[in-house]
Structures are given as C-alpha cells and as structure tokens.
Symmetry: C2
Subunit: 218 residues, 2 copies
C-alpha cells in the first residue's frame, strides 16, 4: 500500500455487498478503517459520500468516495495489486459475466426462495435457484480447470463476488432445511463453499451465521 494512503470503508455488518468489499480488501492485505453505519440513522459522512444512493458500501480513498460493491472491487484492482480479475481480456470478460450472473440470477432466485410471499413464489424460487446453482457449477468447472477456485489456485473476482454470499447461503440452508450448494448435485460448489469459508482472509471478515439468523428474524 502506498505510503500515506488512507482507506476507510463505510459498511453494515449484515450486508453481503459490504462483505464483498471487505473480502477484496482482506485478500489484498490492505489495512483500512471500518466504520459501521446505523442504517436507520445514516451518518453525514455516508450521505455526503453517496448522495445519489445513500447506501453502503462506500470506500473512501484519501477523502474521495467510491460507491457500489463491484465498482469498489475493480477500483481496488486498478489501484492496488494483485488483481482479482484475471490478466487476459477474454478471461476478464468471462469473470465479469459470471459476477453479473451471480447478482442477477442466483441472488434473485435465492431471495425469491427464502422470502417469497406465497408458497408458489417460494417453489418457483427453489426451481430457479436450483437451475442457477447448476449453471454456476458448470461455470466453476470451466473457470477453475480442476483447481478449487473460479480464479484457479487462488481466489479471484468471481470468488469474492460469490464469497459475499457464503454466510447467507448457510443462513438460507438453516432457514429452509435445504442445501443450496448440495454436494450430491453440485459437488464443486459444495467443495468451494468449504474451501472459501476456511481461508484466513475470508474468516477474518465473515459475519456469524447465528447473528444473521437473529437479524433475519427481526
């Protein structure tokens, strides 16, 4: 990290999007000040730093705010090495594609499955999330080429994007009695969940699942 650099992250412990930014900082070994926000009473600093969306995470680098989780990840990649995105443009495009897939299809279907208003909606969510997880299993097979992570031997961009949801996958498993990443259907993702969750850099910032259970019950 360049001398004199000041990094501050405005976050909320229960946000998977904040967790992504923390994971990116953690895997890069960057030190930063973490500021927990009260989302019911947002700080002036948050309102000034993200006047458009007023949302966390916001990374403040030497006084300049960067908003939105994947933009923060790419900013950190461009300012500090080593890059989470691969070097090759085609591999970068594929990583961005799967990162978008995780946010658009996997997240949407998991939310429908766990928070659907009717039984029909929840069943549709289960079907869609099962399809999304199977698609992601194929992506992991393709990207990892026999190694444990989307990034290969080490964690990359897609791993951190998906890694933001690790604790929430465990939460959904607990709430629904299902296995989102079922080792019999999607063995690579089930192994990925274990491998990723046991990395020191991930464990250092991962929220406690029991605390998430309590948050979700509020």
């Amino acid at each position: 990290m360049a001398g004199g650099d000041e990094l501050k992250l405005l976050g909320f412990w229960g946000s998977p999007f904040v967790l992504r930014a923390r994971l990116a900082l953690s895997f890069k070994g960057l030190s930063y000040e973490y500021v927990e926000e009260d989302l019911k009473n947002k700080s002036q600093l948050l309102l000034q730093s993200n006047p458009v969306h007023k949302k966390v995470p916001v990374l403040i680098h030497n006084g300049k705010p960067v908003c939105e989780t994947k933009i923060i990840m790419q900013y950190l990649d461009e300012v500090y090495g080593p890059s989470l995105l691969p070097a090759d443009p085609y591999d970068r495009a594929m990583a961005r594609f799967w990162a978008a897939y995780i946010d658009d299809k996997l997240l949407g279907s998991l939310m429908m499955m766990s928070m659907g208003k009717t039984d029909e909606e929840k069943a549709e969510g289960r079907k869609q999330s099962s399809d999304a997880v199977e698609t992601l299993e194929r992506a992991l097979k393709e990207c990892s080429k026999g190694k444990p992570f989307f990034g290969g031997d080490s964690v990359g961009y897609v791993d951190v994007v998906l890694g933001g949801f690790v604790a929430w996958v465990h939460l959904i498993d607990r709430l629904t009695g299902l296995n989102v990443f079922d080792s019999s259907k999607t063995p690579l993702l089930a192994a990925w969940l274990e491998s990723f969750g046991s990395l020191d850099a991930a464990m250092a910032v991962m929220p406690d699942v029991q605390r998430l259970v309590e948050l979700s019950a509020r």
Copy 2:
C-alpha cells in the same frame, strides 16, 4: 485492428443494448460483420454463443463469444484502443458508477413512464425519470468540465452507455409529447443529445426513430 482478427456482432436493430455495442465498435473504427437476429427464431449461433441468457448482443471475436453490452464495451476497451473508459482509476470508477445509474435508475423510470400499466404508474415514472435526468445533468456537469461529453472533448464510456438510448429518448418524446432532456431544465443534457446524435460514428449506426415508433406500436 490486429491482422487476421475476426469480429462478428449478433444483434437486433431495435435493441438499445445492441446499439451500445455498435456505437463502441463504431467509435473505435473497428470493422465487423453484423448479423441481424430474428428474436422469435434465434439462430443456432446465438443459442450456442450465449447459452445462459440466449440474448443479443453477442460479440464473437475469433470464434470466442462475449456477452452483455457493458462487458462487450470493456472487452473492446481492453483489446483495442483507444479506451472509452478514462485512464485514471478514480475517473474509471465514476464512469462505471454513472453507467450503472443510467441502467438502473434512468432506464427503469423511463420504462415506467412510457409503458406503465396505470396512470398512477406513468405519473410515478414521470416523477422518477425527471429526478434521474436532473441527477444525470449534475453528473454531466461534473464529468465534462465544460466540454460537450461525459468523456470531455471526446466520447467516453458513459457517453456510449447513454448514447444507446438516444433514439429511444426521441421515441419517448414523440409518444408522450414531453421532452425527456428538456433544454430549459437540463440544458447540458439537451445539448449533449444534439452533439452526440450528430457525430458521424453515431449516425452511422443509429436506428430510425420512425421505425422505432412502428416497432413500439406492434
């Protein structure tokens, strides 16, 4: 363009997302084969190239498919100069932020305004799109620093992202009798609309508004 490179774009003339990819190719002066898809009877090439979403645009570079409009734009930036994204990491983050804003807030509110199912929904869409356009006016002021484009003197990433909607802004103006980019309220954006639309590289690929009127009436 590197010798022997083959670029092919699978598209549909009435898609603003396809137009973005065409604008990016056009501003970079890249030659490519454009393949118009029949979206009611998609080609095997499209289904094979984008098996996950089965959507246009797809850029095929030497046989390898790249999907999704902003991923295509960044891929072209990384393979071929000159880059549409700025060089400075902070400016790149801001460009990505405003590009996301255009897709999330501006597009959503314009669609609600022009295709809302009830009068209340349309009125809400008008209010939200008016807010979004005002926010974007401030962004243009900040990014352009007195120059005509988000990219300054020349067209950049945000210009192409917004540029994909130029013909649709004209379409919505015709359908609603309003001015989405009203010169009395948002003079910079109104001037931008004129400037962007009259660039040769934009005119070369811009769809005809009357044809869009007919498409929207189907």
